[in-house]
């Protein structure tokens, strides 16, 4: 486990839609050891202030050997709003990489399903897999919620877009696209596909149900309230599928096998 606390220079920050931002920082130590599905804690208070007090957990959108570390996030409150106001030349304190990421196993096609900003961790994952075996499904209410489509098209053999208002791609939900998917086609014929999902809880629940019905293994990336991100506060508990100990998003996750958690 290698984790670093670094003050990073911002290389670029671009507003992609109304409240969606793409942040690129220079974080060599973190970027070199980061694995797809891991996350970082970013300080958002300006000038080392105490409000907001806690750092914000953001999943790693992409990481490069050059030290380039990317985040894709939506402004949802004061912390992310302050973060979105920063630009090149400024710095941001980043702690990471944290948590347990995706654990790709030998399988047929890899189906990556992202709902809204749940797409964020999937680009790094897609790039780590054999491009021609990757299908990415990106869902949103409208085209404005589909971020970085070009990058996904460059990293995956197939990219399907679904929008609830039909402004782009298939009209409907990500499950609409999943139902239409030919899961048998893969360069590894006969091999069973696997699913990696990240997005709103109802979406992941529906994707989990779809995968389970088809006998396909699924890993999901979860988001919870988090204070430390390092495994000391135990604040990010989630209910396990068994009667045993609670799981913790920051150290047992954020990526879990669908069978590990209580879907309620």
């Amino acid at each position: 486990m290698s984790r670093y606390s670094a003050t990073c220079h911002i290389i670029d920050q671009v507003r992609l839609a109304q409240d969606i931002f793409h942040l690129v920082v220079d974080a060599p130590d973190i970027a070199r050891v980061a694995r797809p599905g891991q996350f970082c804690m970013l300080a958002t208070a300006h000038g080392g202030g105490l409000d907001p007090l806690l750092r914000r957990p953001l999943s790693i959108h992409d990481a490069w050997p050059s030290g380039r570390l990317e985040f894709l996030y939506r402004v949802v409150g004061k912390g992310t709003d302050l973060l979105s106001q920063k630009g090149p030349g400024e710095t941001v304190c980043v702690l990471g990489p944290l948590g347990r990421g995706f654990r790709p196993e030998p399988c047929g096609k890899s189906i990556l399903v992202g709902g809204g900003l749940g797409a964020a961790p999937l680009l790094f994952l897609a790039r780590s897999l054999d491009r021609m075996d990757v299908t990415v499904i990106l869902g949103g209410r409208s085209i404005h919620e589909i971020a970085r489509l070009d990058a996904f098209e460059g990293a995956a053999g197939e990219v399907l877009v679904t929008t609830e208002d039909g402004s782009r791609g298939i009209k409907g939900l990500v499950t609409t696209a999943l139902e239409r998917l030919d899961i048998s086609s893969s360069s590894h014929t006969d091999a069973i596909p696997c699913v990696f999902a990240c997005g709103p809880w109802p979406m992941m629940k529906a994707v989990y149900a779809w995968a389970t019905a088809k006998g396909i293994a699924i890993q999901v990336s979860l988001e919870t309230q988090m204070a430390c991100g390092t495994g000391v506060c135990l604040g990010c508990a989630i209910r396990p599928s068994t009667q045993g100990r609670y799981l913790h998003t920051c150290k047992d996750g954020p990526v879990f096998f669908g069978t590990e958690i209580d879907w309620g």
Partner: protein, 311 residues
């Protein structure tokens, strides 16, 4: 009495503290519940730079903790209702102590129970365990129904638990007080009278938050304990009061994020301080506070932490 001297070409301040018979390299200690059992953050914070560490509260049996949501951020503060999730006494001794005893820093074990008998049993089991330097008795957790605050709000019960623990252990006993009482000095005097070697304060302040959209409390436990910079003025006031009410050393806790915060507590009468929520925000906080205190003492020509106390 100060015992620790750093090697340097020019004389550095003596930040060492001998408190309740425990020798601390410096007066900065990690607070229980914010540093796990140490190993969890060892890669982000060199524990050997610190005076000590108070491990996550240990109960007789393993505890599952409260259901989620367990935490909620407030302005400059953090509400938590973890519910004392911990590995239990047996696993603590077999899985956590072997690593902790290799670390060159004071190790204090925070203990909690559902009954006086449970506190006694845990204290007895910890006595003479190599590597343990002291016990911190948690009679102040606001997040569990049995034990915790029930003992900390009643001077007679707090004194009884302290007295019984003292009879079964040779380790220094620090009693951690709750701020959720009318007059904290009454409890402080009660545990001092019962033989406590030191007092640490404050634990979290009982609070809550409501989710307006869903019309329900945010935390599954309804109430939680408030920590962080928001509570520092209250903690400082209580440390001032208790330091003037008892003769035994006082360890200040509550929203300490910088060395300046720590120095305020020394001026109020604390002999040492604990860093809690700040470690969650920035794992390196405690080490930065150590350096800041040393630099302040150097600049001000202070040779001992106790000199900072305002008479």
């Amino acid at each position: 009495m100060p015992y620790f001297e750093q090697k340097s070409t020019r004389p550095l301040p003596r930040t060492g503290v001998d408190l309740a018979g425990i020798k601390f390299k410096n007066p900065v200690i990690l607070a229980s519940g914010t540093c796990g059992y140490g190993q969890e953050i060892d890669d982000l914070l060199d524990l050997e730079l610190l005076g000590g560490i108070v491990v996550k509260g240990i109960s007789l049996g393993e505890r599952r903790g409260n259901p989620p949501p367990r935490i909620h951020e407030t302005p400059c503060g953090l509400l938590n209702a973890i519910g004392l999730e911990n590995v239990g006494l047996e696993r603590f001794l077999s899985e956590k102590m072997p690593w902790l005893r290799k670390i060159d820093t004071a190790v204090i074990v925070n203990i909690l129970g559902n009954s006086a008998e449970e506190y006694v049993q845990i204290a007895r089991s910890l006595d003479r365990v190599p590597g343990i330097d002291g016990i911190e008795v948690n009679i102040s957790c606001p997040n569990v129904k049995a034990g915790g605050i029930a003992f900390g709000a009643d001077p007679a019960l707090a004194a009884e638990i302290t007295r019984r623990i003292k009879t079964v252990t040779s380790l220094p006993v620090i009693v951690k007080l709750s701020p959720n009482v009318t007059d904290i000095t009454v409890i402080a005097r009660a545990v001092e009278g019962a033989g406590a070697d030191a007092i640490s304060l404050i634990n979290t302040l009982l609070g809550m938050a409501i989710d307006v959209k869903n019309k329900r409390p945010v935390l599954a436990n309804i109430f939680g304990g408030l920590s962080g910079p928001a509570i520092k003025p209250i903690a400082l006031r209580m440390v001032w009061q208790v330091a003037r009410a008892v003769e035994i050393p006082v360890i200040g806790i509550g929203g300490i994020s910088t060395s300046q915060d720590a120095i305020e507590f020394f001026m109020a009468g604390a002999s040492a301080i604990q860093v809690g929520t700040a470690t969650l925000v920035n794992p390196g906080s405690a080490a930065e506070i150590v350096a800041g205190i040393a630099s302040f003492m150097d600049k001000e020509g202070i040779s001992d932490i106790s000199q900072m106390r305002i008479p």
